[in-house]
Symmetry: C2
Subunit: 452 residues, 2 copies
Amino acid sequence: MSLFTDYYELTMCASYFDNKNFEPATFDLFIRRLPENRSYFLFAGLEEALQYLQSIKFTEEHLAYLKKQGFNEDFLDYLGGFKFSADVWAVPEGTVTFPNEPLIRVTAPIIEAQLVETFLLNSINLQTMIATKASRVVHAAKGKSVIEFGLRREHGIDAGMKVARSSYIAGCQGTSNVLAGMAYGIPVFGTMAHSFVMSYPKEIDAFRAFTKTFPNKSTLLIDTYDDMAGAEKAAIVAKELEAKGFKLGGVRLDSGDLAETSKKVRKILDDHGLGYVKIFASGDLDEFKITQLLNDGARIDAFGVGTKMGTSADRPYLDVIYKLCETMTPDGGFSPIMKLSKDKITLPGRKQVYRFKNGDGSFRKDVVALADESAEGEPLLVKVMENGKLSYGLPSLEKIRVVASENLSKLPEEYKALTNASTYPVELSQKLQNLIETTKFQLTKNEINGAF
Amino acid sequence: MSLFTDYYELTMCASYFDNKNFEPATFDLFIRRLPENRSYFLFAGLEEALQYLQSIKFTEEHLAYLKKQGFNEDFLDYLGGFKFSADVWAVPEGTVTFPNEPLIRVTAPIIEAQLVETFLLNSINLQTMIATKASRVVHAAKGKSVIEFGLRREHGIDAGMKVARSSYIAGCQGTSNVLAGMAYGIPVFGTMAHSFVMSYPKEIDAFRAFTKTFPNKSTLLIDTYDDMAGAEKAAIVAKELEAKGFKLGGVRLDSGDLAETSKKVRKILDDHGLGYVKIFASGDLDEFKITQLLNDGARIDAFGVGTKMGTSADRPYLDVIYKLCETMTPDGGFSPIMKLSKDKITLPGRKQVYRFKNGDGSFRKDVVALADESAEGEPLLVKVMENGKLSYGLPSLEKIRVVASENLSKLPEEYKALTNASTYPVELSQKLQNLIETTKFQLTKNEINGAF
């Protein structure tokens, strides 16, 4: 994955190398702002980021390709012997975070710290975006099961895997993605497709064929032709199963007015004494549709949520960025760095995030402070790599899922509203504010008003 | 990749197996409708789909996992010896297509044809979506270069690769993704980041350091502190380079009012006799912003387009589906299949798409017909696999790019407008219409009004 990077990372590194710039520098990875209808982020993607940081290596094939691109031999020799030597601090996966809070902090010779930008952003963007979106869907479902069903429209193979993982972290019960089930130990779920029903001369033949293979817990898709007729046929098959000592698991609705249909289907099932048969719904669902369905009294027991969650369709990216915040000066001191571009100002200096809690453990506010300030809250960034080596026990996926659940439960409801949520308070420490002012003043003097 | 599939594909296959259903069936992969602000699709993703279809194989590890999921030994034995034996027809990559036109048609024992659904949808969804979006961006740029710059926010590793490929097919000049450059031979481009500028005590030091390494054709990012001051410094460095016999390539703007700024920067550069220095713009661009910039008289020579193209941000998925359209009856005849779910009706029978052209070669209309009808237009679907073997010479990426360019040039302007484009006519042949009516009548009789 070492060439899975923007070309400019390599040209900048070549120039750092050429200019013998190996001074340490610190970069922050953070998210600039909340998208519309998001009020927090559920941080995910660290495990992959750390796996990448431990494995950066340029092969002969890479170097031959870069040579053809015009990079010189000295730099290619350097890349051939590249070893990542950074200290890295990061927020654990499953943590609830907010804009402008450093999520990963990399301190290394600038040539190393720069090189890893693209991969880190790619990892954190996708997984944090999906975990955040999925946590909203799970919240909307109010305790009913949510299964991740989006594989067919997620963006490629890697996304299919990471979406399954991230949405499981966020509280989904499982995924339809079998490979993700095998790779991560996530429970896998599935029902049947319309094609299965249509491949039989009659719908009820399809139901009988499927339940012959899976006599217990089958879920029958009943909307291929007409959902009411489908429900009646499912009930007939359920009674046939009962006679043999089996139980139908559920029926699935995938089209039409799910709230109204689910009520009618519930009644048909109940009228046949099939109160145990669950109603599973899918079809274009997201947190808003699920809220509407539950408000409309839908009799749905579980939701299969696909495309809109798996692509974070209402906002398929985060404003995640990776910015230089500190360099070392020739005398061994540290020089704070910030960007003044319009609307894109960044926070200078090496930083830590402190979380303050209420008496009941719920989150009260965060304070972004300088890393060497003493502060009373709980620090969110922990050391994950020291001198390029992992110094952090990677938690299991189940553990991360628990961290996420605990974090979400401690975030007060007002910050979890699906729309118009309150803004969670994130303050800057006085020392950080002072540093911003002095840095801004110095830069303005040097770069804009000064002689050059 | 054989387990990169929805769980229900496997449960359905298990049931087909259990019920000894090995009859041939035909599935169509198609896109149900145009998203808002799309008026055509630029088809891409076939090469990967065909690579997958040639390589489906269940390993011991796969079978062990499936056994734990409760699949029975007979079925697992079948999967262990699985060989894909389908005949596959498809539209070549780079073809302009429209809703409800079959793009891939798979005819095989239903158990095989069903199994491949998820992967085919995943491949075609991402790549066709991105090729379509990128073709709009390239169209908006009116001949100015577009470079794909979205790697950091594309959805994972695989998306990063496929977006580079698909946007190159659609007419982008290159990508920032170095691995895609190596893997596909796509030209790679890059400038410098704000961090590079900020890592030096003064902005002009950064410009001098970078051009020392890359004395010709460097592009300097000039908006880190103040774009006007940045332009003046770039001009100083450009003159220093001239004195040594070199030429600065360009400057990059990444924030603010790009139209106004580009005009002022152009004037600064021209006042210094630097008419050859190009202006490169990036920052939140898409086809709409580029149109606005050009309408506002922006003096921009090339566009770096990232997130919004690389995630198809205004519509990050297509309504791409894979539907059964024909099964074989016990007597060896064929039985047309269609779905009656509300708003989700599908077209029965094995089909071909015929394209009719005007005298000048431009596209006039398409007709979806039954595969065995003789029709006058040019058939779009070609045979790509016979009995599970590739029967199609996979074109090079450059060739696909030419096909795309030719297709787009033959699509009349009225169908390429970025908003409110005319609807390209896609008709159904009379025989297909007749088949729809008889199939619908039969199904309604059997499944809804009939006894069951």
